[in-house]
């Protein structure tokens, strides 16, 4: 295995870590299965690609985050105000986003960003480490933000919302607003992950987001099985570590000759095994009592 392969795996793992940190908010903190992810990841790709084509890669990342938040707000409103089931709400937004993403990309299913400067370009003199450095910086910013935010009073309310809704309402907190806020942040970071992904691959495709939810879940589960700590800092570390580790496993599988088309099947099986094994453990413990 040569340096390019290792760096490539770390870079992709890092990008998926950004997305997984978003998914961590909806899946772990809010305890809401949010299927918007596949759509909002592509949304980030599309926005970022369009701004890169117009030579504004940094603005592209920022706006991808903001527009991703909006997608989360839509899902949040569907769930809380219109009382649509969380799973269905996510699927609805995701489906709607397919059309919106196509529109953003100028009705073309893919955009190539070769020849355009990206956020990675200014550090090109540090090659081949340039991309990894930029990605690490972004991960650190996201982690620091989440680590602070989730311990503020607003963050506490958000976490309590996924823990015990009755208690949150009894503390005069509007659980609807908390869910919308949480889903907005979650999809904002997922979209940011997509934005970095597009500039890294120098390519944006309408199908980029397919299966991202499963990759994110796998990363979170793998990370949390390895790092079992409750403190927010450790949990964030677990998510980042899980994403990188998971990508490393896939890279090894690819190197060993696994066809890349089988990756998603492998991801899905891995998630099934991880979730099933924790459920089995719980079942066994219960039957012992």
């Amino acid at each position: 295995m040569n340096l390019t392969v290792v760096l490539g795996a770390l870079e992709l793992g890092g990008i998926f870590a950004i997305m997984s940190l978003g998914l961590y908010i909806s899946y772990k903190v809010l305890n809401l299965p949010d299927l918007t992810v596949d759509g909002s990841f592509t949304l980030g790709c599309a926005v970022s690609a369009m701004f890169t084509v117009h030579s504004m890669p940094y603005l592209g990342l920022f706006l991808a985050f903001v527009i991703g938040c909006l997608a989360g707000v839509v899902t949040g409103v569907l769930i809380t105000k219109l009382n649509i089931m969380p799973l269905l709400s996510g699927i609805l937004t995701m489906t709607a986003l397919y059309s919106i993403n196509l529109r953003i990309m100028g009705d073309s299913p893919n955009i190539s960003l070769f020849e355009f400067p990206t956020v990675f370009s200014p550090l090109v003199f540090l090659a081949p480490y340039d991309k990894l450095i930029v990605i690490i910086v972004i991960i650190l910013i996201v982690c620091f933000f989440l680590h602070y935010f989730l311990r503020t009073q607003l963050g506490l309310a958000l976490r309590a919302c996924g823990d015990n809704e009755d208690m949150v309402r009894a503390s005069s907190i509007d659980t609807d607003k908390m869910k919308i806020l949480g889903l907005a942040l979650a999809n904002g970071f997922v979209s940011l992950g997509g934005a970095v992904f597009a500039q890294h691959q120098a390519f944006s495709d309408i199908a980029s987001g397919t299966g991202m939810m499963v990759i994110g879940l796998a990363s979170i589960i793998v990370g949390m099985t390895i790092i079992k700590k409750d403190k927010i800092g450790f949990q964030l570390m677990a998510v980042v570590f899980g994403a990188v580790f998971y990508r490393a496993i896939l890279t090894i599988a690819l190197q060993l000759g696994l066809p890349s088309g089988d990756l998603k099947l492998l991801s899905a099986i891995l998630v099934v095994i991880a979730i099933a094994s924790t459920n089995m453990k719980r079942k066994r413990r219960r039957s012992k009592c």
Binding site: T152, Q153, L154, L156, A157, A160, M167, A170, S172
Partner: protein, 262 residues
């Protein structure tokens, strides 16, 4: 203080399953009143609480607290003035968060959220308040609430519900799931906190002794109606047996007898 005007709650109105849970309830409480409520299952006690707290909208009638009409105000907004405890000790706290974090949430009730971490001063206040519970929780601020016992969790919930002094406290059999000794301890705590802060309180209980021992009024409910309100001298002299007698014989003719007496 708290005023209920002609409250009726009807479930599944107009269907075969129609159930009148509350029927034309009128109630007026003064500030500092501590009312114990007894009544058999299905008498409407919990429905009454849910109507006051906003979890259920009444079919008819109004809830007025301190001159403010609460009818139509959502549950979470009412929580600013109304503290609540449920029978299930797991309901009032967030299990995967620490004691400190739970209390911090309770301490901001009715305020706007701040994007700040909690300060040393707040921490000391929390420790002080926990010390009064006398459960040693002040040394365990970073313990996850999920690892506490039911009694400890209920005591913590009590503290959280009264951390920012509410105008009204609703206790829905909050000690029923605890063992007798812990139950008494939590009740003593409740009584102490309520008296100290002069909080208007409604407490549902199935324990006749407690119903007379705590508070200054006892209310009996049956079939969605308040059928008796015992207070003053009559209550002071009343024994548990007399209360049970009143509770089991009281139907509408009890009301009639009362009228005849007057």
């Amino acid at each position: 203080m708290l005023e209920l005007q002609d409250i009726s709650v009807i479930f599944h109105e107009g269907t075969v399953n129609e159930k009148i849970a509350l029927s034309h309830i009128d109630l007026k409480l003064d500030k500092g009143d501590f009312v114990t409520i007894i009544g058999s299952n299905g008498a409407g006690k919990s429905t009454l609480f849910q109507t006051i707290s906003g979890a259920i909208q009444p079919t008819q009638g109004q809830v007025i607290l301190n001159g403010q009409n609460l009818t139509g105000i959502p549950e979470y907004k009412r929580s600013r003035f109304i503290g609540r405890l449920f029978q299930d000790p797991l309901k009032g706290t967030a299990p995967s968060m620490t004691i400190e974090e739970n209390l911090s949430l309770a301490s901001q009730r009715g305020q706007h959220f701040r994007l700040s971490l909690f300060s040393h001063k707040q921490k000391n206040e929390m420790k002080q308040a926990l010390k009064e519970l006398d459960l040693g929780l002040e040394e365990r601020l970073n313990t996850k609430v999920g690892t506490l016992s039911g009694g400890q969790r209920q005591a913590l919930t009590l503290l959280m519900a009264t951390y920012v002094t509410p105008e009204l406290l609703l206790l829905d059999e909050h000690t029923a799931a605890l063992d007798p000794k812990t139950s008494q301890k939590v009740l003593e705590m409740t009584s102490k906190i309520v008296e100290e802060h002069h909080i208007t309180t409604l407490m549902i209980t199935h324990n006749m002794e407690d119903a007379l021992k705590y508070g200054n009024k006892t209310m009996i409910m049956k079939d969605g109606q308040i059928i008796a309100m015992v207070e003053g001298e009559e209550r002071k002299k009343m024994t548990v047996d007399e209360l049970i007698h009143l509770y089991s014989t009281s139907t509408h003719d009890y009301n009639d007898r009362l009228f005849l007496k007057q």
